[in-house]
Amino acid sequence: MSNNGKFEPRIVAFLCNWCTYTAADTAGVSRMKQPPNVDIIRVMCTGRIDPVFVLKAFAEGADGVIISGCHPPGDCHYTNGNYKTFRRMPLVEMLLQQYGIEPGRFHWGWISGAEAPKWAELTREFTEQVRKLGPLNWKKQFASKED
């Protein structure tokens, strides 16, 4: 996305309904400063996040992806959905690395409903981090007919 020629990263965040989505909601209600670059997709639990969503987001044009839910071990509204997340995401990291996507473009972690400032800070820092990495523009990888 270009804004007067300046690169503005597009970031997709998959957030669990009970913890980080609540934190993001609170951050907004509390008027905490957040960059507009992060688009949130709500799921009930981070356990619902199929790795394919991450790939799809990058494939569609995301420059960065965030996954965030309830702190393990016990914060999960569904007991241990977040366990599945921390089992899957290290492998997703490995996969993305092999695809050539920098580790700095993918963040997964935990922000509880009480940690709205932490969410606001993450969006600010992650956006800056992705901004430094520059555009990913995955579709271009495959667009040229000559290739």
């Binding site: 597009r10 688009d39 009930m44 356990g47 799809k56 987001a57 569609e60 914060d75 241990n80």
Partner: protein, 597 residues
């Protein structure tokens, strides 16, 4: 038990067989002096003071009432001239042995003995060799530390060879039974005493005085019986038991154990309350540096009629304070990271009440350091007015600092915002209206019930306005300060609402569940069994006959973890489907076509 009749001092008394004369007299309020008697110990007849005249078969003779059985037809006279003469002789002997023990002096005076009649060997002697301590140590505590040694005039009480012994468990039973104060235990400041605010309590005590039913408990760490059992690895099982012997209701049961009850319930009300914020976290209030700087909760104990001072408000020196300062918002409404930003909400009103109590009980000058007076409840403002009229000095401004002066006085400084000046007042007692905070284990409880917590740490209700007692976990409700600081009326209202919600849920009989569940499309399920271990609710089971996995919709909570897991794509949620989420992702990157106007 057979009924008998016994005549005491000319009065016929109907009673039961199997008691001593002394026991019958005590029950009938007939005074017989004793020194070596204790109701929980076997009678010993050492002091002889309970001597009475007993007439059997027409023959009067003198006997000790503590050891003589009460038989049918006995005639007892407790106060004849002969009896008094014996007691007088005994008191002469006692006073000559222990001339400076107040109890002996008093009792001797009753028989006209005011000076030792015989040469005094040791004016500091206190032991009268009654043997109470020996009996309690051997028969009750079963520590077998104390006994008599030597004979005749050399007879004395002590541990073997008068040496310190590890067998002593420091229970203090001997000091309690000793009538003359001859035994002293040097207490070291130990954990048992330090743990009890404002003075020690007994090993059996009522933990919450307002509780219904008001039942005492035994602190098994302090109780002699349990300590002896634990020390001896269970060999000494029957030490002490004095409370059991004395309890007329037979309510003491040493065999009771802590129990973990497993109950199947349809609703849970979480009412885990609050804890006091640790007032040492802000050092400017000097909490812990003087015994006269106390928290409001300690003040409550101090002014409690069942408290250590019987409800009198006294400084640590045991005198009434002349000036008292009450500091509001200690640890509340404070951005210091050691404190809380929220208002603890209950402090203004209890501080006013405590100011009123101080004025009422001690007439001391009271200075209230407050930021704002939050007297918003029904009748609260009126109470605030009344306390002001009682002469309490209101200083508008947070108490900034409490200093302990070399004299022991306490100097409170702060700004009086109304005067626009710094003020200081020297007082005898400072009461800190300390913050209340979520219990230290709130996170564990939150995890147990799947609750979330608001940034201040209290449990989050499902909606701040519309669902004040519900939580995000079905069937779990919040009551009272667990959800946030509340005073008693608000807690009662909140708890009532929670109880109603719980009962309403129980009475429903049939519950509707969320339609947001996962479904297995059996056409695509290939029985790989990957999903079985994934579900936190064990809602997915494998149906052997059909060779497919199936979701129990009543158990499924709709988290979608299995949907993301199923490698065959055979499980879908009835919400947040793959198609919906994929469409959302696509939607984010669909650039809208701008039409030039």
């Amino acid at each position: 038990m057979a009924k008998i009749t016994i005549t005491i001092d000319g009065k016929p008394i109907q009673t039961e067989e199997g008691q001593t004369i002394l026991e019958v007299c005590r029950k009938n309020n007939i005074y017989i002096p004793t020194l070596c008697y204790h109701p929980v110990l076997e009678p010993y007849g050492a002091c002889r003071l309970c001597t009475v005249e007993v007439t059997r078969h027409g023959w009067p003779s003198l006997h000790t009432a503590c050891t003589h059985p009460a038989w049918d037809g006995l005639v007892v006279r407790t106060n004849t001239a002969e009896v008094r003469a014996v007691r007088k002789t005994l008191m002469e002997l006692f006073l000559s042995r222990t001339p400076n023990v107040p109890l002996i002096q008093e009792m001797a005076a009753e028989y006209g003995v005011t000076e030792p009649s015989y040469p005094v060997e040791d004016p500091n002697e206190k032991c009268i060799l009654c043997g109470l301590c020996v009996r309690v140590c051997n028969d009750m505590v079963k520590a077998h530390v104390l006994n008599f040694s030597s004979r005749g005039v050399d007879r004395k009480v002590g541990p073997p060879f008068m040496e310190k012994t590890r067998e002593c468990i420091g229970c203090g039973a001997c000091t309690i039974v000793c009538p003359t104060g001859a035994i002293e235990i040097v207490l070291q400041k130990n954990a048992i005493y330090a743990a009890k605010p404002l003075g020690p309590t007994a090993a059996i005590y009522v933990p919450s005085l307002q509780a219904v039913p008001r039942v005492p408990v035994i602190d098994t760490d302090s109780c002699i019986r349990f300590r002896q059992r634990d020390r001896s690895n269970g060999e000494i099982e029957d030490a002490c038991g004095a409370c059991q012997m004395l309890c007329e209701a037979n309510a003491i049961d040493f065999t009771q154990q802590d129990e973990i009850l497993e109950l199947n319930v349809g609703a849970i009300v979480v009412a885990t309350g609050f804890q006091m914020w640790d007032s040492t976290k802000l050092s400017q209030y000097s909490y812990g540096k003087s015994p006269n700087i106390i928290t409001a909760l300690e003040f409550e104990r101090l002014s409690n009629a069942a408290g250590p001072t019987g409800g009198q408000i006294l400084t640590a020196d045991g005198v009434k304070p002349e000036r008292v300062a009450i500091i509001h918002c200690v640890g509340s409404r404070d951005k210091n990271p050691n404190a809380h930003e929220y208002c603890s909400r209950i402090c203004c009103m209890y501080s006013l009440k405590q100011a009123h109590l101080v004025r009422d009980k001690t007439h001391a000058e009271v200075y209230e350091f407050y930021m704002d007076m939050r007297a918003f409840g029904k009748g609260y403002e009126e109470f605030y007015e009344r306390v002001q009229e009682e002469g309490v000095v209101m200083v508008r401004g947070r108490g900034a600092e409490v200093q302990v002066l070399p004299s022991g006085k306490l100097r409170v400084t702060g700004e009086d915002a109304n005067l626009g000046k710094l003020v200081a007042v020297d007082v005898d007692m400072v009461v800190l209206s300390s913050a209340i905070e979520p219990p230290a284990d709130a996170q564990k409880i939150a995890q147990l019930f799947g609750l979330s917590r608001t940034p201040d740490g209290w449990f989050a209700e499902a909606h701040p306005k519309l669902k004040p007692v519900e939580t995000n976990t079905d069937g779990v409700f919040l009551a009272g300060a667990a959800q946030g600081p509340k005073d008693v009326p608000d807690t009662v209202a909140h708890a009532g609402a929670a109880a109603s919600m719980a009962v309403a849920l129980l009475n429903r009989g049939e519950v509707t569940i969320s339609p947001q569940v996962a479904v297995v499309d059996e056409k695509f399920c290939s029985a790989c069994k990957t999903c079985l271990n994934i579900c936190p609710y064990a809602a997915i089971s494998f149906i052997v006959e059909d060779n497919v996995a199936r979701v129990n919709e009543a158990l499924c909570k709709g988290c979608g973890t299995c949907v993301a897991t199923c490698p065959a794509g055979a499980i879908t949620g009835k919400h947040f489907t793959d198609d919906q989420i994929m469409a959302q992702i696509e939607g984010l990157f669909r650039v809208p076509e701008l039409v030039e106007a």
